[in-house]
């Protein structure tokens, strides 16, 4: 239980620190890649310490709740919970020993952050409808064309890529440092 708390703290801090980069408009679109990529390093260490079911789920849930508290809406709670659960199942199926399964588990888990983007896409209709009176239908139409539904999937793909690369980097850092130091 304490392990969950410690690693969730590390993961969230690293994740959030990367997320802060996103306030620079250009980087905003890269967040789905950068955050899982960098946060992969602590998370892979975490995964080596997991021997029981449910730990990743709890981490996902806590991250979701933290997202809510920092004002980012509630869908991350469900995505955190959901993807965490899937990740836990993947880990369990490999009996907590399989290297490939750990990589898969993290990649899948990383998708939880798309929960933050959900409101931007699924509430779009009402969002844009609300803008019509202020900005005019034409403008809104143009805007809608800039954020087609497919971009949601593009970002999800980016997240998966980021998660995968992050898992690989995490694994190599594990081998280089933590295994040699006797901590993993």
């Amino acid at each position: 239980m304490i392990t969950v708390g410690v690693f969730t703290a590390i993961y969230f801090v690293v994740f959030f620190a990367c997320g802060m980069l996103g306030y620079i408009p250009i980087f905003m679109l890269l967040i789905p890649f950068i955050c899982p990529f960098v946060a992969g390093i602590p998370f892979m260490l975490y995964l080596t310490k997991i021997k029981r079911f449910g730990m990743v789920t709890i981490t996902g849930l806590i991250c979701g709740i933290l997202m809510l508290i920092t004002g980012m809406s509630w869908p991350p709670i469900f995505t955190g919970l959901g993807f965490g659960l899937i990740a836990d199942f993947i880990l369990k199926s490999g009996n907590y020993q399989s290297s490939k399964k750990t990589i898969t588990a993290y990649t899948v888990f990383s998708v939880w952050l798309m929960g933050m983007m959900l409101p931007l896409y699924f509430m779009r209709d009402s969002y844009f409808a609300a803008m019509v009176p202020t900005y005019g239908q034409e403008y809104v139409d143009a805007l809608m064309s800039y954020t087609p539904t497919w971009s949601f999937f593009a970002l999800t793909a980016l997240t998966i890529l980021g998660g995968f690369c992050g898992a690989l980097i995490g694994k190599s850092v594990l081998k280089k440092h933590f295994k040699k130091a006797g901590m993993a």
Binding site: K176, H177, K180, A181, G182, M183
Partner: protein, 500 residues
């Protein structure tokens, strides 16, 4: 009553500590027992047997029986053992679970499901016993090391165990805090508790222990009564690798003579945290170059802050360093000074000892790096990961990277906290080596033995200013002895303490 019958243990995961072999031991109710010996002798492992961390937390193969009041605790869950045994550990920073002090005191009782009124009553009782009223309802992060350790002790105390186990509790504490710790142990002893202490620093326990167990390589080699131990002289203790029993018996190394050819001048060092009062205020300080300078003072006097300012780490600290005619402002100071920090883990970055040394060098020169390693007895470990080494070895790696950096001024923040006699002497030798290379060293320490063994000059800090600066000759020796011994007897009131 605690009994260990034919207990042997070895760690499963190849930990740095060795195991135990054939331990047979009986400790009566109310006894105060000291476990001593060199690093790695097994005293920590023995304490873990008593508080249940072995086999519940540290895995390994255990044979034999461990009984407390005829109960086989090695078969119990650790929360059961926790009702009988309370534990205080070495590092004040990593023992507290909560963020505020009051909750921390309640923690153990809350875990046992005691009703709130009972918990509050126990907290009030402990607070009055320990006289820690002004520490209540505060953030633990803002306490000093000694205060944190007091809270750790109080937190254990509210659970009302009969047995207390201490694992090197004084390692990270200064003289005044050690005196406070001694008083706590005295209090518990007077209440008839059984106390087991594994320690390097023996002097503060001299009047408290009943029995002393000297361990070596996982066995209890010798056993003394307190009386027998007090009759031993310095040479005998030294041969066993033990630190002296009293501070007064220490003398300085007279071969260490302070040379004074050139001076280093520090001027106009002013620095403050967000408060209005400056944390550091030095108008002009003259320090002899090429000396090993001890920096002493109470907790919170500003020693660590001074080191950080001198080193150039504090951005808002203005001040200049005059190094043989060269005026150094902050950025220059950053380039000319190197600091070996208190927590060595903060400054090891690479995956092998050799890489660590190469990191400090501007131009990677493997041959030179290896020669530095061999001079510090580290060559056999050059391919090992720095974090896999023992505390003493890591310290030497940090010193090696200081040497490799070729910077002229090197600062050490508590280099020997938690080190046993042999390792402390190794550090002392390394310091002298560095001095012979012409470097100027500043050592922040409350290890009197280290200071007397290697330092040639003393700076005494108080409230951010240097109140005294003297060479460590005969007069200086008296001054520094009186400072340490006075503090061992009447600790100062640390109201304004900053974190260590």
């Amino acid at each position: 009553m605690i009994e260990l019958k034919n207990v042997s243990f070895s760690y499963s995961q190849g930990q740095k500590e060795n195991g135990l072999h054939n331990i047979n031991l009986t400790i009566r109710q109310g006894e105060v027992v000291l476990l001593c010996g060199e690093s790695g002798c097994g005293k920590t492992t023995l304490t873990r047997l008593i508080n249940g961390l072995i086999p519940n937390y540290y895995e390994g193969s255990l044979t034999g029986q461990i009984l407390i009041n005829d109960q086989a605790i090695h078969k119990l869950q650790i929360y059961e053992t926790a009702k009988m045994v309370g534990s205080v550990f070495q590092n004040p920073r990593s023992q507290f679970f909560n963020v505020d002090t009051t909750s921390e005191l309640a923690f153990g009782c809350e875990n046992r499901g005691l009703p709130a009124e009972e918990i509050n009553r126990r907290i009030a009782e402990t607070v009055s016993d320990f006289k820690i009223d002004m520490l209540m309802d505060r953030s633990i992060f803002q306490l000093s090391g000694g205060e944190k350790q007091k809270i750790a002790c109080a937190s254990v105390s509210t659970c009302h165990p009969d047995i207390f186990v201490f694992d090197e509790p004084s390692s990270n504490l200064d003289i005044a805090a050690i005196e406070d710790l001694r008083k706590l142990i005295e209090l518990w002893k007077s209440k008839g508790k059984t106390i087991i202490i594994a320690e390097h620093r023996l002097y503060f326990l001299r009047e408290l222990v009943d029995r002393v167990l000297y361990m070596k390589s996982g066995r209890i080699e010798k056993e003394f009564t307190a009386k027998q131990m007090k009759m031993m002289n310095l040479a005998e203790l030294s041969s066993m690798g033990l630190r002296p029993l009293s501070l007064e018996s220490l003398t300085r190394d007279k071969k260490n003579v302070a040379q004074r050819w050139e001076d280093v001048y520090l001027s106009n060092f002013v620095f403050s945290y967000k408060n209005i009062t400056p944390a550091i205020k030095i108008d002009l300080l003259t320090v002899p170059k090429g000396n090993i300078v001890a920096v002493i003072g109470h907790n919170g006097a500003g020693k660590s802050t001074f080191a950080r300012c001198l080193c150039g780490l504090e951005k808002s600290c203005k001040g200049t360093l005059d190094l043989c005619g060269e005026i150094c402002k902050r950025r220059d100071r950053l380039r000319r000074c190197y600091m070996v920090m208190q927590d060595v883990n903060h400054q090891l970055f690479t995956e092998s000892v050799l890489d660590e040394i190469l990191l400090s060098m501007g131009e990677a020169d493997t041959a030179k790096a290896e020669s530095i390693l061999s001079s510090l007895d580290l060559l056999p470990m050059k391919d090992l990961h720095p974090m896999s080494l023992s505390g003493g070895q890591k310290q030497r790696v940090a010193i090696a990277s200081a040497v490799a950096s070729e910077k002229e001024i090197i600062l050490f923040d508590e280099p020997t906290s938690g080190l046993d006699l042999r390792h402390m002497r190794e550090v002392s030798d390394s310091l002298k080596q560095l001095q012979q290379m012409g470097k100027t060293l500043f050592i922040i320490s409350h290890d009197l033995e280290l200071i007397l063994g290697s330092c040639t000059h003393v700076l005494h800090f108080e409230k951010g200013s240097v109140i005294d600066s003297y060479p460590l000759d005969d007069i200086g020796e008296n001054k520094i002895m009186s400072f340490f011994i006075r503090n061992a007897q009447e600790p100062a009131d640390n109201v304004n303490s900053l974190c260590i």
